[in-house]
Symmetry: C2
Subunit: 218 residues, 2 copies
């Protein structure tokens, strides 16, 4: 990979989408695609796609386009999907259970190695073949397994203390589903927030706004 360095998040956030789309094309047996075709399907400009890809190197062939199979793999490598980083899940409530069983971690660069909860009703149960452990066993577990990432599916009130506790255990990245922004107190911490409530409110705004526009026009 030739270039890299200082890639903007706007570009990064488009890569998984390219990857998903190209996997799909590959499955359908498509071998070749041009930036123009791809842009039409994704609702982007061809320019943007070429610009994005050229942050990482020239993957295409002039006059021909991109080889689907090859480009898909390259994007996978850029994203680091081959890594299988160890991940733990904290909080086996509704959402935690759904994440554990709905997500295909290996496909996305991770391996779920542990699940923790503090409820006696959940401890001992299995989720996707993994035993739910008592929160008290977090320390020895992390010292042994050294997970790189923690999925946080706990109530808002618990996050601040929990993230400190995990940081002390060497966890440096968080996939946060709680209704709370994980504070980035340390420069080496990576947080990806998924605020479902925010997403839903955004949708509400759009519906609300569209109906107001409609009113105004009538």
């Amino acid at each position: 990979m030739p270039k890299r360095e200082n890639i903007s998040m706007s570009v990064i956030r488009r890569l998984p989408r390219y990857h998903r789309f190209l996997s799909h094309l590959r499955e359908k047996g498509v071998t070749r695609i041009s930036s123009t075709e791809l842009s039409a399907k994704l609702g982007l400009t061809a320019s943007q796609i070429r610009q994005d890809l050229n942050c990482f190197g020239g993957f295409g062939q002039q006059g021909y386009g991109y080889i689907v199979d090859q480009l898909c793999d390259e994007i996978g490598i850029i994203l680091g999907l081959q890594n299988q980083y160890k991940a733990i899940l904290i909080g086996a409530g509704n959402l935690g259970q759904a994440i554990a069983s709905h997500m295909n971690f290996p496909e996305d660069g991770f391996r779920l190695v542990g699940i923790f909860d503090s409820s006696p009703f959940k401890i001992g149960n299995r989720l996707n073949g993994i035993e739910i452990l008592d929160m008290e066993r977090l320390e020895p577990f992390c010292e042994r397994e050294k997970p790189a990432m923690a999925v946080l599916c706990v109530p808002r009130e618990a996050v601040s203390e929990l993230s400190d506790r995990l940081y002390a255990l060497g966890v440096r990245s968080f996939w946060n589903f709680s209704h709370y922004d994980v504070a980035v107190k340390h420069t080496d911490v990576i947080v990806e927030n998924v605020h479902l409530n925010d997403s839903l409110m955004t949708l509400c705004y759009q519906i609300h706004n569209a109906s107001q526009q409609a009113e105004k026009e009538s």
Copy 2:
């Protein structure tokens, strides 16, 4: 509300976060806040916050700042949270169940009025007090209830046909959790995609990239 019209999505996506933060401050009994204080807590610039708010009107007082209670309510109104739009959920699998029970729809501007699934093992069960109905009952239900929004928690393959079916029934907005982008074939459709896989891959990239940087420096 004085101004409005043509507000960019960048601004809209920050509003729920402001709202969440201000609710929290209100709960803690804080009555007054300046854009500078707020910006420090949110990790933004004071300029941006003032700029954002002034898209909708002047909610502050010069020399004083903003009244937490009032600003919070105003943002709620801008987002349209008072609307309680009717929503239905399609797909009562792991993720669907989690969404139904984990989300507080009324707080976010919606009311969940129906849940649908095609599995005989799920039909008839209750989720959050709502009976899971057979997909075949979708038509009469929608004709009667006229839901504004559908939460899609179905497999990728099902989305294309399903969204057409819902569009025909008058549903114009979708909160899509499937591993697929809902095609916007019509200009009056609003889609909010939540691609958890994409989010996870983005996190993978960041970890991968951080460790590469660390290697380079050593």
